[in-house]
């Protein structure tokens, strides 16, 4: 649906909102605004936990996020103006947010639904390295390693380091070629894995509007796919991002933006981070007209999201949204560990359990080795994540906390060592596209261990 009236309203507000310096927006609107609502709504977190257990606190975070967003707005860098919506407008738009959406086509079609806290319905799994870099020759086999997993419902491409052997540079013709190449290869991987209608997203290599939108056209990304774009942290946009939104709406695409608040950044500590995450997700729906809203809150030094300081406020923010809206929310797992490390699997355990019991609609990843090391990812960790996710649908938050804490104790001391693991070619047989014995054995060991903690796997 195009929603021309709403889109025009967003554009007009970006042209007519209060004008201000970006630094003033950062310092007064974001930092000052977060500090104010954390105090006013008495947001205090029990920092020993991993998963929020307090419904009243979650509801206060939601109220604080609405109050903050209404006073802060979203900054448009192209016009130096703030796009503002009142609390009443925000609540009114949230009331009309879609609660379900069909993704993909044919026998590969899946239904994404808005979930509640401790919802027994299974979230979707977008099994993917989520834009991690990859060499051209491993693009298709590595993607097949995800697509072939029965637990995987949707996927997203890794990022090509080169195309036809040449480095890609943004805002150049190479970026347009990269977008088309990525779309071609992704669709080819779907076909080879026998799941041609599986919903995909991507074109992450092409960051500019022209680059990304070039392959968001017939022959490239399909209207049944997710059309993903990032907004600028914290709570900022520009005309390039609004151009992407406009094009996607005119293509009747599923709008799937994300915002990744940085822990310790403008929002400050855990309390501020929880409010900022919730506010950013609401802004994605209100300002960026999202069908689905997503995040991967980021650690400022390790670039992961599996530190306790990130899991806990994320859990709180997503519970706030699940309890008070019908938003379809998604989270990306960004572990530090890579393939053939137990660290990766323990990180996936804690984060996936948190996402599942906190009302997340779709889990993305894992973006192994923080998505920074070329080729350090494989489909087996997506299989593991999917199995943990399905099992965690039957947990309450108390039991989820207990298992997540045990996993956390296992991996927390290793994060500083950055155990990035092995390259895809070392953990998969490239002819059969199956995990090598050592990786499979490690996966089974950890799965048995997690099962012994009380997580009941279906198989």
């Amino acid at each position: 649906m195009r929603h021309t009236t709403r889109l025009m309203e967003v554009i007009q507000r970006s042209l007519s909102g209060p004008i201000m310096d970006e630094e003033v927006f950062n310092n007064r609107h974001i930092t000052g605004g977060i500090a104010r609502v954390v105090k006013e709504y008495d947001i205090r977190i029990d920092k020993e936990r991993i998963i929020n257990q307090d419904d009243d606190l979650a509801d206060r975070v939601f109220q604080a996020a609405i109050d903050f967003l209404a006073s802060c707005g979203v900054y448009c860098q192209s016009t130096n103006r703030v796009i503002l919506y009142s609390q009443e407008e925000i609540k009114s738009i949230l009331r009309t947010a879609p609660a379900q959406v069909r993704l993909g086509a044919g026998t590969d079609e899946v239904l994404e639904v808005a979930r509640k806290v401790e919802d027994p319905r299974r979230p979707l799994l977008m099994g993917s390295p989520i834009g991690s870099p990859i060499e051209e020759e491993f693009f298709i086999p590595s993607m097949i390693s995800y697509i072939q997993e029965p637990e995987v419902d949707a996927t997203m491409a890794p990022t090509l380091g080169t195309i036809y052997g040449f480095e890609v540079r943004t805002r150049s013709p190479l970026e347009i070629m990269a977008a088309w190449r990525e779309a071609e290869l992704t669709l080819e991987a779907l076909r080879r894995a026998g799941r041609p209608g599986m919903p995909i997203t991507g074109l992450g290599m092409s960051f500019s509007d022209v680059g990304q939108l070039s392959a968001d056209n017939p022959g490239g990304l399909r209207s049944t796919d997710l059309h993903t774009f990032g907004v600028i942290s914290e709570l900022k946009t520009n005309f390039e991002i609004l151009n992407k939104l406009t094009h996607i709406l005119y293509r009747d695409g599923i709008v799937d933006p994300y915002a990744n608040p940085i822990y310790g950044g403008l929002g400050g500590g855990m309390e501020g981070q929880a409010v900022l995450i919730a506010a950013a997700m609401i802004a994605l729906n209100v300002v960026f007209m999202a069908t689905c809203v997503g995040s991967s809150p980021t650690h400022p030094f390790y670039f992961n999201d599996t530190h306790k300081e990130l899991i806990l406020p994320t859990s709180l923010a997503f519970q706030a949204l699940a309890r008070n809206t019908s938003l379809m929310t998604n989270l990306t797992i960004s572990p530090v560990g890579g393939p053939l490390t137990k660290t990766l699997l323990y990180e996936c355990t804690a984060y996936t359990i948190m996402c599942t019991v906190s009302g997340c609609s779709r889990i993305l990843g894992p973006r192994s080795a923080t998505g920074a090391i070329a080729g350090h990812f494989s489909g087996l960790e997506a299989r593991f994540t999917g199995e943990v996710m399905s099992a965690a649908c039957h947990l309450d938050r108390g039991k989820a906390e207990e298992i997540a804490q045990r996993a956390y104790e296992k991996y927390a001391p290793d994060l500083i060592k950055q155990p990035y693991g092995k390259h895809f070619r070392e953990v998969y047989d490239l002819k059969t596209i199956q995990p090598v014995d050592a990786w499979l054995k490690m996966y089974e060991e950890v799965k048995n261990e997690v099962a012994s903690w009380g997580l009941t796997f279906e198989s």
Binding site: T170, S208, S233, N238, Y263, G268, P300, A372
Partner: protein
């Protein structure tokens, strides 16, 4: 730290600009040398602020506020200083996110860390053209150009800046190039000819100190 510096130390840590400036001026008027105030109070205080941020005991806004207090003090006591502010500044740096890349929080963290470690930093913002970066470095008479890039497709623009600097003996002699960002590896930085690479904000400071010939 001597007890007489404690109020100034607290004013910096708590981001109280007016109080910090007033205390510093009072000390200078009372006969303290600006260099003494910096070496005995401001430098150790800022080191402490940086250390606390590295342990995430404080956060970016607090670190920026501390740096703002010190910048205001530098400005306020300039008339009392013999020579120039060189005596209290470790070095001059221009920092930017390269052309085609709009990510700024990582850069802002590095900027704040450099400032609390005693560097004068000119922030050119995001999406900055190669020529504009080098021009600003010349105008500031910087010793270091610090570049940030988050996306793989913006890495070529990092290399462009390095190539531009190295293409002239004059700029190659004047500027060291420090690089970092989410998508960038140590190996890539080396292959591109960067003088230094920071995997994170702490390493950026350590490498900057090394490039400036200072022990850390």
């Amino acid at each position: 730290m001597q007890p007489e510096y404690e109020p100034l130390c607290q004013a910096i840590i708590q981001g109280r600009v007016e109080e910090g400036v007033a205390l510093a001026i009072k000390m200078v008027e009372g006969g303290k040398l600006p260099v003494e105030i910096f070496s005995q109070c401001i430098e150790p205080t800022l080191t402490d602020v940086g250390d606390k941020f590295s342990r995430l005991e404080i956060f970016l806004p607090e670190m920026i506020n501390a740096a703002e207090v010190v910048k205001a003090i530098q400005e306020a006591i300039r008339p009392f200083m013999v020579g120039s502010s060189e005596q209290v500044i470790k070095g001059r740096i221009v920092i930017a996110t390269v052309f085609g890349d709009l990510h700024d929080i990582g850069k802002n963290i590095v900027k704040a860390m450099l400032e609390v470690n005693g560097y004068q930093v000119q922030d050119l913002g995001v999406d900055v053209h190669t020529q504009q970066i080098v021009k600003a470095a010349k105008e500031m008479d910087a010793q270091i150009i610090a570049l940030s890039a988050l996306m793989m497709s913006s890495l070529p623009f990092v290399r462009d800046v390095i190539d531009y600097v190295k293409s002239s003996p004059e700029t190659a002699r004047r500027f060291k190039v420090l690089v970092g960002g989410g998508c960038m590896s140590r190996e890539w930085a080396k292959s591109a000819g960067a003088d230094g690479y920071g995997e994170n904000a702490f390493e950026a400071v350590t490498v900057t100190n090394r490039l400036m010939g200072m022990d850390q």
